[in-house]
């Protein structure tokens, strides 16, 4: 019975592989002969823009992007997770105290490890930033003072292929908006 089934399957396989025939057409010698250049659509030169020369708005890349600045402490997350763990509650409280010493807006930057693809990783980083924002709001900080952004996997502080390194990249950094 099994042997019969295998023969049937192989027969089907051969039929599918073979498919429909597709013979080379027989064309006249003069068809399509010409000598004109027909590459205009790829000849045009495209731009080359260096945005380093433009500067960056609001100091987003001020050189301190690898960790929190202005006395804040980064909040770290488990793999694939975006809830603030109990082990991070002390850091939330300390960060709240620092916020209360300033009048500036606070920027929360969500980050991820490299184990995700494009859009999903940026959304995961955003969820982390939103979770820290909600924690700060629950500590009495006004929502209007907080700006969140996700940098996905674009801003690692560690690039070694180790679990501890990956854990350092799953974080939210806090900064004053200056």
């Amino acid at each position: 019975m099994i042997q019969k089934s295998i023969i049937m399957a192989l027969t089907l396989t051969v039929i599918i592989i073979t498919g429909c025939s597709q013979k080379a057409p027989d064309l006249n010698a003069n068809t399509g002969s010409n000598n004109v250049s027909d590459a205009n659509q790829i000849a045009g030169e495209t731009v080359s823009i260096d945005e380093n020369a433009y500067g960056n708005e609001n100091g987003a890349n001020s050189g301190t992007f690898n960790s929190s600045s202005d006395g804040f402490q980064s909040i770290y997350f488990d793999f694939g997770d975006y809830s603030v763990s109990s082990s991070m509650e002390n850091k939330i409280a300390e960060n709240t105290n620092i916020v209360n010493k300033h009048n500036n807006q606070i920027k929360l930057e969500g980050n991820c490890d490299e184990f995700g693809t494009d859009e999903y990783n940026y959304a995961l980083g955003l969820k982390r930033a939103k979770a820290v924002k909600d924690s700060l709001i629950s500590e009495g900080i006004a929502a209007s003072r907080i700006v969140i952004i996700s940098y996905g996997e674009s801003n690692p502080v560690c690039s070694s292929p180790t679990d501890s390194c990956y854990a350092r990249n799953r974080r939210v950094d806090l900064r004053l908006v200056k």
């Binding site: 089934s5 399509g32 250049s37 731009v47 940098y151």
Partner: protein, 412 residues
């Protein structure tokens, strides 16, 4: 039992990976030999021609790099067994010039003759693509003009920095068009490939720009707190699907580009990203973690009900669509860290006819060609990465090595 065997054998049959070569219609494909009449032989150009003929699915190209004369109709006996012979001469003294003659191998009859010229040397691969696509058309095979298109992609340079580049599909041509800052998620804005959308993450809020790649002129489309990605564009370019978070929550929106009016399509207190139009653009597929892990779902733009599309895999976090065809990446190993197997699957908007397209490595960033006939993807295997192409009709696949920096997002 026999049905199970039939299903298993048929399912594996369609896995078209570089490691699993399926030579469909070998007897039926047009056999062609290449004769190089260039003053200075360019092996890269020869290899690009070979790749172009192969990925078309219509040609069985001779691997020998024959040398000969362009204008003579004499053919070596060894190539007379082919159907056609392509004689070509490439010159890069000033710019790039290419002359081609297509001859019938049996009697040396000239079938096609053409010359091409562009003022730059670095765009040489595009002349190969154009010539092969023209020959393909002359022989009245189904269109392969996708090989003439630019690929646009973003790659990371240093932490917090990226650049956006153009490439030909083989990545032999590459050019940085935006460097500096953190500019991400480039997406072609029109069929003519004159404009791209991209997201600039250089301030407090990400900004979506539309930029002309020839003039550099750019227009601010919209900004959003948190994240902002242009995920898909309607066929006529009038509407775009965005992942954005105006209230700190990533959801999918449809934006009318002219009026700037937007409609919220998903509303979930988790992650909804990567919206892609399907069918007649009244519905979308997207990636969501509403079941606790990344998976593929679909919904109508005009109603709230959501349907799960994929029922396998531990993490299905990338999707693309063309009409009713859907391709997605599915994680099929359990490593939290390190190497994982991600395979590509092709399915339909009805969820039928699902079949694997790859069998090894981590295969991600699947993107349909404009005609839906070919899928581009990035393959990571071991320490190396490649850009891959799968011709869905002929099951031909190609891999071109990628070196250096990590690709962030890609479109073509």
């Amino acid at each position: 039992m026999k049905y199970i065997l039939l299903i298993l054998l048929s399912f594996n049959l369609f896995a078209a990976d570089a490691t699993l070569k399926i030579e469909k219609d070998v007897e039926q494909r047009t056999r062609i030999a290449l004769i190089d009449a260039s003053g200075v032989v360019n092996n890269t150009f020869f290899k690009i021609l070979q790749s172009d003929f192969k990925i078309s699915g219509h040609f069985l190209v001779d691997k020998t790099h024959h040398k000969g004369d362009l204008n003579s109709n004499y053919l070596l006996p060894v190539v007379k067994s082919k159907d056609y012979v392509l004689k070509y001469s490439l010159s890069q003294q000033t710019g790039t010039k290419l002359m081609i003659r297509l001859l019938k191998a049996s009697d040396s009859t000239e079938v096609y003759k053409k010359s091409y010229a562009i003022p730059t040397k670095n765009k040489m691969p595009f002349l190969a693509h154009k010539a092969v696509s023209d020959i393909n058309n002359v022989l009245k095979y189904s269109d392969i003009s996708w090989i003439n298109r630019y690929v646009v992609f973003a790659r990371y340079t240093t932490p917090g920095k990226s650049e956006i580049l153009l490439a030909d599909y083989t990545f032999n041509y590459k050019k940085v068009i935006i460097k500096g800052g953190l500019n991400l998620f480039p997406k072609w804005a029109d069929d003519k490939q004159k404009n791209i959308y991209y997201s600039a993450y250089n301030g407090l809020k990400p900004v979506l720009y539309k930029m002309n790649i020839y003039t550099g002129g750019k227009e601010k489309i919209i900004s959003s707190e948190g994240m902002l990605v242009c995920s898909d564009i309607s066929k006529n370019g009038s509407k775009i699907l965005l992942t954005m978070a105006p209230e700190g929550q990533a959801d999918i929106f449809e934006l009318d580009v002219s009026s700037k009016s937007k409609r919220k399509i998903t509303n979930f207190n988790g992650i909804d990203v990567s919206g892609k139009y399907i069918d007649d653009e009244s519905r979308i597929v997207f990636v969501s973690n509403r079941l606790g892990y990344a998976n593929i779902f679909k919904k109508s733009i005009h109603s709230s009900s959501v349907s799960q599309m994929v029922y396998h895999g531990r993490n299905n976090n990338a999707v693309d669509a063309h009409g009713s065809q859907i391709v997605y990446s599915s994680r099929e190993s359990q490593n939290t860290f390190g190497s994982n197997t991600f395979n590509l699957y092709l399915t339909s908007s009805h969820g039928r006819d699902t079949r694997p397209l790859t069998t090894t490595g981590a295969n991600q960033f699947p993107r349909f060609s404009t005609d839906g006939s070919v899928i581009l993807y990035i393959k990571h295997r071991g320490a190396g990465s490649s850009i891959g192409y799968i011709n869905l009709a002929s099951h031909q696949s190609l891999l071109f090595p990628l070196s250096g920096r990590k690709i962030q997002s890609i479109d073509w």
